[in-house]
Amino acid sequence: MATNNGRLTPAAAHAATAAAAPVRVRELVRGYGPKGVLNGVDLDIAPGEFVALLGPSGCGKSTLLRALAGLDHAVEGSGTVEVPAKVSVVFQDSRLLPWDTVLGNVTLGLQDHDAGDRGRRALAEVGLAGREKAWPHQLSGGEQQRVALARSLVRDPELLLADEPFGALDALTRLKMHSLLSELVHAHRPAVLLVTHDVDEAIALADRIVVLDHGKVALERTVASGANRTPEDAGFAKLHSALLDALGVNRHRALAASNA
């Protein structure tokens, strides 16, 4: 019934993706009036899809992420948010409990008897085998963020929410973290929503890029799979400038800022 000559009708195709979509956001409003933070956002993320959410400061991208994370208790609003059962969050700060060891942080809240083993495996995956008993503050910023990644992944999330996870890291560490995140996402296949204000980071990592502006989706672009995601690539440059335009960044000004 859904097929027509062996093909999905557009409506049926939509229904199929909608049923499979682990993330469905409809008419999301957060904060009312002229100061509304989100003013009717629609967003779908398919299972295993990597979506980067770009936007200038104060555009509501963190508000959207917090809505998906279920952390907006005291925020007025309306709309529908549907997320899968298993959601993990990586914050900008690694948010490790300073009084717990690295392993204790990774397995925080896990009750299964093999939690320790799984935690150790997750730590090995992020390249921190052997640091299980260290205190968080004994690690560098990049290492702390890797522990935070391990803490998220050990829970086998269907949706990974990352709120500018590399924003506080230095440029070199950030690049290393990009490849690590790519590998991990490839291995675990969660749907990902990465909030960032870094256009390069979005292009480097995401399947699809959503630009949020004034609480609304301003632009959506798919990043061609298998694309050469380096600044030398022509497609990259085009996407890059389209995104900057959508972000309202004048290219001349951007140039001036980067030279400053």
């Binding site: 993990s88 969050v89 409990l97 925080l108 205190w135 503050h137």
Partner: protein, 300 residues
Amino acid sequence: MSAGVLDVGRTLGSRRPNAGPATPPGGKPAAAPEKSPDRRPLTRRLGPGPRRRFAGLLGPLVLLAAWFLASGTGVLDPRILSEPWTVLATASEQLGSGKLQEHLAISAQRAALGLFFGILLGVALALVAGLSRAGEALVDGPVQIKRAIPSLALLPLLVLWFGIDETMKVLTITLGVFVPVYLQTHAGLRSIETRYVELAQTVRLSRLAFIGKVVLPGALPGFFLGLRFAVTGAWVSLVVVEQINSTSGIGYMMELARTYGQTNIIVLGLAVYGILGLLSDGAVQLLQRKALTWQRTMAG
């Protein structure tokens, strides 16, 4: 541990030669390059410098020496303050007869019981006030009122209610102890950052696990601060209850000595209180260091 590093060039102008490159294990450094004098443009050190071990003993030792000196030279009249050796002799005498141990045991028991109940009450109230707004609204006010009333002022009422037996004494100590424990633990609870609470929510911690993994460890530094106040406070309350309507304990021993004008026993009692206070504070600090390893390594 870090003292070795900090020691180099401890004071301005002392240009000690540097330790030089580490010698390879087993064997002399092969033709080490001639050491040139270590000249470095050090800034004037304004901080207090590295910590020294047992430095905290200096002050009490100076005080003790002054006492010896003043008594030995006769500046201090023994009727005003007994000589240290007289107090020592009294101590061994009282120890020999077993009287001191007897008083000490009953005093320590009262302090321990009062501390136990006080800590329990303080932590429980802090948790109630720290974990729910309703709890805070109910609990915080009365505790602040109790804080403004000295234990001494409550004593007449407590004596009327509970008589002069052990219940009254332990209760008085408890009432003195729970306030600092509550205040500091509550402050510790409130200082736990919201971001950790959010984290606990995102990893779906149960309320019990949240208390065990986030709330209690996060409030522990505050709790220990409160505990140190509480331990000192317990001894203070003890003095009060033992000098009024008591027939045993160090305070009673001193009060009795006062009626007979035995300065040496009074000073002995004071010394015992002082030693007990120091020892218990040291014990709490030791416990604190054990429990807060993560904090210690952060400072070092």
